[in-house]
């Protein structure tokens, strides 16, 4: 399970393929360089458990700790609002692919242009289509997948982790990104 092969095995992408992200510190260089990251949270966030909560809670925590604005897709924004987190914006995943290709786009909060995206909690195949658009046509952006399963169209992606290892790595990432800037 630790091999960095696409989770859906047919999803082979080409010469460029994501590096396996197994330790938060691997993000050090890219994180240091990034000025304007954006977290893209998919519609499955409320149904993916994490710790005592779910991936909505995790996103809020990471957003606050590492100062990463959130854009929620597919209606996930409702869960953020219900939890009193008013800073999440809402856009469609496919809209984001289009807008992110424009290097002058200021982003959903008007704080861009973004130079890194962190994605998670989308259908596997929708995350890869989004990441493919970014990898190929938004080359000013470093795409990082925070999903459990390997997304070859990112720059960094987890290599199909066991559930527990995934949780641990998410915690590590929270601490690392939250503490290192």
């Amino acid at each position: 399970m630790m091999r960095a092969t696409p989770w859906q095995t047919g999803e082979i992408c080409g010469p460029d393929a994501a590096k396996a992200l197994t330790k938060a510190a691997q993000l050090k260089r890219d994180w240091r360089k990034t000025k304007k990251p954006l977290m893209i949270v998919g519609s499955q966030a409320p149904s993916i458990k994490h710790g005592r909560g779910d991936m909505v809670d995790y996103s809020i925590e990471l957003s606050k700790a590492a100062k990463i604005p959130i854009v929620a897709t597919g209606g996930a924004v409702k869960a953020f609002i219900e939890r009193g987190f008013e800073d999440a914006k809402s856009m469609g995943a496919m809209e984001l692919v289009g807008y992110l290709q424009d290097p002058t786009w200021k982003g959903p909060h008007g704080k861009g242009p973004h130079d890194m995206i962190l994605t998670h909690s989308m259908q596997y195949y929708m995350e890869w289509t989004l990441l493919s658009g970014v990898m190929n046509f938004a080359r000013h952006i470093v795409p990082v997948s925070l999903s459990r399963f390997y997304q070859p169209h990112a720059t960094w992606s987890m290599p199909n982790l066991k559930e527990k290892n995934y949780r641990d790595l998410l915690k590590e990432i929270l601490e690392f990104l939250g503490g290192s800037k």
């Binding site: 998919g42 995943a93 496919m94 809209e95 692919v97 989308m122 195949y125 289509t129 989004l130």
Partner: protein, 781 residues
């Protein structure tokens, strides 16, 4: 009107003698009875409408998401197209993506066109070339797509054949553009995608018009009959013939034979996918079993005594699958022979004997007249022994087999719908079958999980086996396809649609590659029918929409009328009947606005794009045909939403709401350039969830031409759905307000506040057009 005619006869007796193998080509026939003036673009070639296409493609940018970064289409490759690299032929990544989409659209169009050609040739042979084409009562403007594209009014099968000649030529051109060293720019590839989409729409119109005219199907009938649907409706005390595909001719031979011999008390004829619709359009004793993704669950149940396949969307492993349950297969289409021996010319009795004895797993029979008798007699012969057999494993057997699960997750990795099959198998180890049932509900029957499983578990059969209760409950009543929309219906709704008072036409069409079961299609259709949009359906989506019962046990078709009107749910029919949805939009321009259709594509597309609030939704789109169908709508300026799997079509057409210049139109009255709001905001969009799709559907119905009343109605729906599904008041409502009376009264305070915050300014409502030549002053101003 110039058109070419071609007449062929095996043997013709004339005053000059008897000719064998006679072929006559006539250069021109003039349709001089039609006084409508010819428009600028009859029978357009691949670049004739290029400037219209480029207008759309500038407003809606292609956003590509490549499957991979290489091209492997010629021996100079594989070429690495990542980054700024170009292939050995000079093509870049965007061009390559446009090219792949064009290849897909060509494939899709070829399927409809070849189907249409088969129908026309067959019907000419059966009924003669002069057979009249009749769309039905109240359809004076019959064949609106043909009129618009070709400038012809197809009145006979011979005319239909001439139109298909044109389509075939165009398909050859657009397909050739994908060859190495032809087209190079993404925009020109996409323009050809539009072109072949338009050709696809035309060939579908011809196919449906021909079959409706000759085969006894409902003709533009809002009261098209209600028919039985669902696995539970199939009476297994009778011999069961299952038909799968899209081409009515072989299936018609079956239902005709069964009717003629008075065998309906002994035989059930049920269909899947569009063949099912077309069978029930002719014969209401036939039944619609389910959408295309139901193929394996039904075949493996062993209920079908014979499987007859025609063309398109048929599982390519149908013969080996049917063999597992000893069901003979009859293939009937030269496009899908399926490896079976050709028995077309053999005596009927010997074919029947070999199929019944199991000597051959199936037979290819191209002579459609024989299909009915063979399928029926074989089904009757094999039925008694088959009913004594059990085909699905018992729960006990499943539990026992499940013990050896390797917990390797391969089944989960293989599942396109991210179903946790492993967890379900592990639960089955303890005798808990609930999770398998849950997977079944979200399953599209692709059996990728099975091919990946190292234990070769028949996982899909397990799911189906433990879900047999829900099989039995699949007893639905659906309205079969009505065909075209009547001119009189358009006369009634044309104005309220163009003014925006009927907030939109929402079309649920296409395949059954659903991300989470077919119920979503029903729920979306019901949501908008309740809001008094006009809902139209076709194909597998039309089946799924009907497979949900309300508290009174009624389907959406039983509780809602089949008229083309607000709040109704209108099943047009099979895939080829999609052309009538385009036809309805085109007829609005002709009837309500009195625009000429004849060879006048760009003007009518511009009209529809700016005035007719129509949206196509294909929640389970999977095929290349669906691309071609969508492309036909894009060229008319009609936006299309697909489900999340549709993102794998690898290209969206996205508008930029934040770029005001993209939303400028001419005011046809003055020639002045005017800003309108971003409506429709996108031309092609894959929604991640039903929530997103619903909000977007309401929004994509907005058109520059809406009256104040229409705009405020549309905005009320948009705001309501947005608040419900997104949890907040949308931030962009102010953009859609042109004058104060656009504001929905009940939302006044919030919108006024938004307008103030964004320094809103009043603006006039234009008579919108994207075409300079549509300015009344001739574009001088």
């Amino acid at each position: 009107m110039k058109k070419k005619a071609y007449i062929k006869a095996d043997e013709a007796e004339t005053s000059m003698g008897v000719f064998k193998g006679l072929e006559v080509r006539i250069g021109q026939i003039i349709d001089d009875e039609w006084d409508e003036p010819m428009g600028p673009t009859p029978m357009p070639g691949p670049t004739t409408l290029r400037s219209w296409d480029h207008k759309l493609l500038t407003k809606y940018t292609a956003s590509y998401m490549p499957y991979c970064q290489v091209c492997c289409l010629c021996t100079m490759g594989k070429c690495d197209l990542s980054g700024d690299k170009r292939g050995a032929c000079g093509l870049d990544m965007r061009g390559q993506q446009g090219r792949i989409v064009l290849a897909a659209a060509n494939i899709g169009c070829s399927a409809h066109l070849a189907h249409s050609r088969h129908l026309i040739d067959y019907l000419i042979e059966e009924y003669g070339p002069r057979t009249r084409l009749i769309q039905g009562p109240g359809t004076e403007i019959h064949a609106p797509v043909s009129r618009l594209v070709t400038g012809m009014r197809p009145r006979t099968l011979e005319d239909a054949s001439i139109i298909l000649d044109y389509c075939e030529t165009q398909l050859a051109h657009t397909l050739s553009a994908t060859s190495t060293g032809q087209e190079g720019s993404w925009m020109d590839f996409e323009s050809k995608v539009f072109h072949v989409g338009m050709i696809d729409q035309l060939s579908m119109e011809i196919a449906d018009l021909a079959q409706v005219s000759t085969l006894g199907m409902p003709q533009a009938d809002p009261d098209a009959p209600l028919v039985e649907s669902g696995i539970g409706m199939i009476d297994t005390n009778k011999a069961v013939i299952l038909t799968i595909g899209h081409n009515i001719i072989p299936a018609a031979s079956i239902t005709d034979y069964v009717t003629e011999k008075g065998l309906y008390d002994q035989v059930e004829v049920g269909g899947m996918c569009c063949t099912a619709w077309d069978m029930t359009r002719r014969d209401q004793k036939a039944k619609v079993i389910g959408p295309i993704s139901w193929q394996l669950r039904y075949v493996r149940s062993g209920q079908a005594d014979v499987v007859v396949v025609d063309e398109q969307c048929v599982r390519t492993d149908i013969v080996s699958e049917a063999k597992k349950v000893s069901t003979p297969v009859i293939s009937t289409s030269d496009k899908a022979v399926m490896g079976l021996p050709d028995r077309s010319d053999d005596p009927v009795d010997s074919i029947i004997e070999e199929l019944v004895s199991g000597k051959i797993p199936g037979a290819y029979i191209s002579d459609h007249h024989k299909v009915g008798i063979i399928a029926t007699r074989v089904a009757l012969a094999v039925k008694p022994a088959r009913r004594r057999k059990r085909f699905f494993p018992s729960a006990k057997k499943i539990q026992q087999l499940a013990q050896d699960c390797k917990k390797c997750m391969e089944c989960v990795r293989a599942c396109p719908n991210d179903q946790n099959v492993q967890e379900a198998v592990l639960a089955a180890q303890t005798g808990n079958m609930e999770l398998l049932r849950e997977v079944y509900n979200n399953c599209i029957g692709c059996v990728r999980c099975e091919s990946a499983c190292p234990n070769d578990y028949a996982l899909h059969s397990w799911m189906a086996a433990v879900s047999q209760d829900s099989f039995k409950n699949e007893t639905h009543v659906v309205r079969t396809g009505r065909g075209a929309v009547q001119d009189t219906e358009i006369r009634r709704v044309g104005q309220p649609i163009v003014f925006g008072e009927i907030p939109g036409i929402v079309a649920h069409v296409g395949c059954a590659n659903y991300p989470g079961g077919g119920k979503d299609v029903h729920d979306m259709a019901e949501e908008f029918a309740k809001r008094r949009f006009i809902i139209v359906t076709s194909g597998c989506a039309a089946i799924s929409a009907g497979h949900v019962k309300d508290e009174n046990g009624q389907s959406i078709y039983e509780r809602r009328s089949g008229e083309f009107d607000a709040g109704c749910v209108v099943n047009m029919g099979s895939c080829v009947a999609n052309s009538h949805i385009a036809g309805a939009a085109i007829k609005i321009a002709a009837i309500f606005a009195k625009r000429n259709l004849r060879g006048n594509y760009a003007e009518i597309a511009d009209y529809i794009h700016n005035r007719v609030g129509a949206v196509g939704i294909s929640w389970g789109a999977m095929s290349q045909k669906a691309v071609a169908i969508a492309a036909g709508f894009w060229r008319l300026g009609v936006p299309v939403i697909v489900g999340p799997h549709g993102s794998k079509y690898r290209r969206m057409f996205l508008g930029r709401a934040d770029r005001d210049r993209d939303w400028i139109v001419y005011d046809a009255r003055t020639g002045e350039r005017m800003y309108t709001a971003p409506g429709p905001e996108h031309l092609f969009y894959a929604a991640e969830t039903v929530a997103e799709a619903n909000v977007l559907t309401a929004k994509l119905c907005i058109r520059p031409n809406d009256t104040a009343k229409g705009r405020s109605i549309k905005l009320s729906h948009y705001v309501d759905l947005h608040e419900r599904y997104m949890g907040f008041f949308p931030e962009d409502v102010w953009k859609y307000i042109r004058r104060n009376n656009d504001i929905p009264i009940t939302l006044k305070d919030k919108i006024l506040a938004q307008m103030k915050e964004n320094k809103w300014k009043e603006r006039p409502i234009p008579d919108p057009t994207m075409l300079k030549e549509q300015i009344f002053t001739g574009g001088e101003k």
